[in-house]
């Protein structure tokens, strides 16, 4: 069984997941405060690894070079700042720009990690549950695309194989041009095949009454009371964070002068709200794992 299927947060109603990820990524994109980025990063890494296991750790490790590259590259193009560390190509390479680069790079990596979690949690059927009612035709189209792609990938291999066995198609030692043209040939044959198959799909849709009535949308998941509670909690937390952001509580300027709002006093509550919000999937995961242990030992 895949790890995602054991995850309590993935079992929640899709609206919960969607709200969370829009929050995590959207709020994260507005905050450049290093402490907040660090917090978001910690929760993202934890949840990502819970979902993906050791493979997750690998991805996290791979993002380190990207982080370093972006960090060190920023001062090369942004020369603002007070403390000049050195000169590169006669231009100042400043401490402030370096820290700024670090913040931006961190934010980017954190966003990508949350997107990775999103991909694991928000599968296509969840997407459909959310949007099937709002944009029924587009959602249906998306479903059809998702069904067609694996079929087509298989067919591409078949087409290429079939051509190879009659001595057409690019040989192993073919030039780039031959390969490109041959794969376009395959793509064009694939298209004919898919379009003709589509005619049957369309018939099958008609046969099952597509377009006769206003379409309803079948949902596998029902909104449970726990989902509603979770959504309310998230909404309250998100509101608190937005207020904090609007009030400048998360403000952080790097260049030309570094000014980072300290997380003290009234801002501490907002920071806590941010952490609680981001920790929800992890907390749910751990809570369920613990409950499972207890219920098992109880038997």
């Amino acid at each position: 069984m895949k790890k995602e299927e054991n995850d309590a947060f993935s079992q929640c109603h899709p609206a919960v997941g969607f709200f969370f990820f829009v929050g995590a990524i959207g709020l994260g994109a507005m905050i450049l405060h290093p402490l907040y980025i660090l917090a978001s990063g910690l929760f993202a890494v934890t949840y990502y690894c819970l979902l993906r296991g050791t493979r997750g750790l690998k991805t996290v490790a791979l993002s380190v070079p990207v982080f370093l590259l972006l960090t060190f590259a920023n001062p090369l193009v942004n020369h603002d700042g007070q403390r000049v560390l050195t000169y590169v190509f006669g231009r100042p390479y400043t401490y402030e720009a370096l820290v700024y680069g670090m913040a931006i790079a961190g934010m980017l990596i954190v966003m990508l990690l949350w997107a990775g979690c999103y991909n694991a949690v928000m599968t296509s059927d969840k997407f459909m549950t959310l949007f099937g009612g709002v944009i029924p035709t587009i959602s249906l189209l998306l479903l059809m695309v998702l069904r067609l792609v694996p079929n087509m990938i298989r067919k591409v291999a078949q087409l290429a194989g079939a051509r190879k066995c009659i001595g057409r198609g690019a040989a192993d030692n073919a030039t780039k041009k031959e390969k490109a043209l041959d794969s376009l040939n395959v793509l064009s044959a694939l298209m004919t095949w898919a379009l003709e198959g589509g005619v049957i799909t369309a018939d099958s849709m008609k046969a099952r009454g597509y377009g006769t009535e206003k379409r309803s949308s079948f949902r596998m998941q029902k909104m449970k009371s726990s989902d509603i509670i979770l959504l309310s909690v998230m909404a309250v937390l998100a509101a608190a964070i937005v207020r904090l952001i609007a009030g400048g509580g998360t403000a952080a300027d790097y260049t030309p002068i570094m000014r980072i709002t300290p997380v003290t006093g009234e801002h501490l509550a907002g920071f806590a709200a941010y952490c609680v919000f981001l920790s929800l999937p992890t907390v749910l995961y751990i809570k369920e794992a613990v409950q499972w242990r207890i219920s098992r030992s109880g038997i």
Partner: protein
């Protein structure tokens, strides 16, 4: 005026400027968030128009096939830098017009992100791919440009290199640039340039060799099976 056109105007003249104004007043650095919201707002009128049209099954299926091909174009070719993605979208735009072209592009982007992973770039990508469909649709609508292979090829090359490519690079800019000066943004656009030229070349090659052959196929499903007609079947 059609409902979708009204929505389009409202979006362009009111909602998007309002978003931008509001965004400027937000503290901190919200360029990315702002741009993603605008990208999504651009999707809305196109989606609404498509929903409102209640397309028939055969049109839906054809659009789905083209959108799926956008994903396939990323994997089917065994050469790493050769991705005829935009050629597929642009052909759809030429064959079906700008509105449907947009849907093919946007859906192609969303669909392929389901396979290769979605990310903060998804709204941008949907918008930019959709725009590729719109551009080609506009260029070749009502016989404005001749549907000759080389004309389509050159047009798509130009669109990719001058418009779609930079549009996608802009999404990178909103995420990683720390300062919106030319000096700061230029390296990002410059590093994107060779990729865009390569993409443009792929589009050119695809259309130059296969443009009309593929249009013919789309034409065939239209005539053979009355696919896009308002009255099909009975």
């Amino acid at each position: 005026m059609k409902k979708s056109q009204i929505v389009m105007f409202v979006m362009l003249l009111a909602v998007i400027p309002a978003t931008l104004l509001l965004g400027m007043r937000l503290p901190g650095r919200s360029y990315y968030l702002l741009s993603a919201v605008v990208a999504l707002e651009i999707l809305v009128p196109f989606f609404m128009a498509f929903e409102g049209r209640r397309p028939r099954p055969r049109e839906l299926v054809t659009v789905a096939v083209m959108a799926a091909l956008v994903t396939i174009a990323r994997v089917a070719v065994p050469l790493p830098s050769f991705k005829p993605t935009f050629a597929v979208i642009m052909l759809a735009g030429i064959a079906f017009g700008p509105e449907t072209g947009f849907i093919v592009g946007a859906l192609g982007a969303l669909g392929s992100d389901f396979f290769y992973g979605q990310g903060p770039f998804t709204p941008w990508q949907m918008m930019a791919y959709g725009m590729a469909g719109v551009l080609s649709g506009l260029g070749f609508a009502e016989g404005r440009l001749a549907r000759k292979n080389w004309v389509m090829g050159v047009y798509c090359f130009v669109c990719t290199v001058l418009f779609i490519g930079p549009l996608l690079d802009t999404s990178t800019v909103t995420i990683i640039a720390t300062k919106f000066t030319w000096e700061n943004m230029l390296p990002i656009y410059l590093s994107g340039f060779p990729v865009n030229v390569m993409q443009g070349l792929c589009s050119f090659i695809t259309l130059f060799f296969f443009g009309n052959a593929i249009l013919e196929k789309l034409e065939r499903v239209k005539t053979q099976y009355g696919m896009m007609e308002s009255e099909d079947g009975i």
